[in-house]
Amino acid sequence: MKREIALKVNQRDETLLVDDADTLLDALRDRLKLWSVRESCGVGACGSCTVLFDGKPVSSCFLLAARAAGHEITTLEGLGDGHALHSIQEAFVEERALQCAYCTPGFVLTVKAFLDEYPHPSDEEIRDYLSGNLCRCAGYADIFRAVRAAQRKVEESKRKS
């Protein structure tokens, strides 16, 4: 069955015609051309298709697009302002927390949701929360440092504002 869904994607109102069998990943990539949302494992284990669903990380590869109706989706494209990088992206660049970068959008969004929920995380909390995002270039130590760098940047920008 086809249906029209209204949802918010990266702060913009969108109306999409989707099939009931479409995943949110299909809709975001094929209709809205949001190429940062990437399918890898296809079963929710790797995190490369992570998007924020009302601010919480989900795997868009097995979430039905029809179920996103009325909700707010954020992809990596929605993090920066289109010109400057988001502070979490900056932290990933500075710490060289990427190599091939296929997994990076999923990591950055996961870190965004994580720092929103745990502004002062323990090392254990960082490892536990990020354990569902896989990086096959094995840059975990750099990614861990990027989370701490991102945390400092977020704190700094809060102090300034």
Partner: protein, 286 residues
């Protein structure tokens, strides 16, 4: 990978959902969080012409405190179980069991009802809920009924739910005074994987001795199992003789089979190790 076309039906009430399931019979299936069903359909291991979306029914995602326990709606997510102040305070063992499933995204999506109704043999919540004496509420063409969780799991991926019947909620009864429960999961592969096995132990103490001991295991038979015949431990101090007898009882009742996470022999050994560990943990609590 794409999913073969299907229709997502979105009922507004339980009777409407049951009517849809009755109308479409084997062509329809209830959809909870979708973490398992959608993936299996994507892999083309399963196909249903109609999915009945339970998320559109109001009230199924609530956690309600009642006089004698807590009622958890079928659509409550794993992440909510992990973080809910009510669950963490009343049943920390349940919050613990839900907190290690998959990853944070899976827990954000997967539902309590879906987890139980899927009836996989190695899931984490069933052992914890079994030792607490949880009960399922089901709603179907014949109305509402309750099913003790220990009678709910019938076989691999098979439950006591009748065709067209829905799991509505899980009632967890309040713990008596001087009771404590733990859940230990043992993973043979990565931390995000299904466990090789999981063990829950529950102990009520009286005058420093065991008043009641319950033990349940996941991953060591076609269904999660609540151990029978543990009354011998009542009024004992759970010393090594009692624990040895318990381990024999466990070994008699489990029937593990080899999978990616271990051979039958290995799982029998690990069951002994983790049952002992779990009982020692509940015992040492003051």
């Amino acid at each position: 990978m794409t999913i073969r076309s299907f229709d997502l039906l979105q009922p507004r009430s339980l009777p409407e959902a049951v009517e849809m399931l009755a109308k479409h019979g084997d062509d329809a299936r209830a959809l909870g969080g979708g973490t398992t069903l959608i993936i299996l359909m994507k892999q083309r291991a399963l196909y249903y012409r109609y999915l009945v979306d339970l998320q559109t029914i109001p009230g199924l995602a609530d956690i309600k405190s009642e006089a004698d326990g807590v009622r958890v709606g079928a659509l409550v997510t794993h992440r909510t179980m992990e973080q809910s102040a009510v669950i963490r305070q009343a049943f920390p063992v349940v919050a613990e069991a839900f907190s290690h499933i998959g990853n944070v995204r899976v827990r954000q999506t997967a539902s309590v009802g879906g987890n139980l109704a899927h009836a996989d043999y190695r899931l984490d919540p069933p052992p914890a809920l079994l030792v607490l004496g949880a009960e399922i509420t089901a709603f179907g063409p014949k109305g509402l009924r309750t099913i003790p969780l220990k009678d709910f799991f019938r076989d691999m991926y098979e439950t006591a739910l009748e065709p067209g019947e829905l799991l509505v909620d899980v009632k967890i009864p309040s713990l008596p005074a001087n009771s404590r429960a733990v859940y230990l999961r043992y993973t043979a592969l990565s931390a995000n994987d299904w466990p090789c096995l999981g063990v829950a132990a529950y102990l009520t103490k009286e005058n420093g001795r065991c008043k009641e001991l319950r033990v349940a295991l996941g991953g060591v038979a076609a269904t999660p199992l609540l151990m029978d015949g543990l009354e011998f431990a009542n009024d004992q101090s759970l010393d090594s003789d009692v624990i040895d007898k318990l381990l024999e009882k466990v070994d008699e009742q489990i029937s593990p089979f080899a999978d990616l996470r271990g051979s039958e022999w290995y799982k029998r050994r690990m069951a002994r190790v983790f049952v002992k560990k779990a009982v020692e943990q509940v015992k040492s609590w003051q």
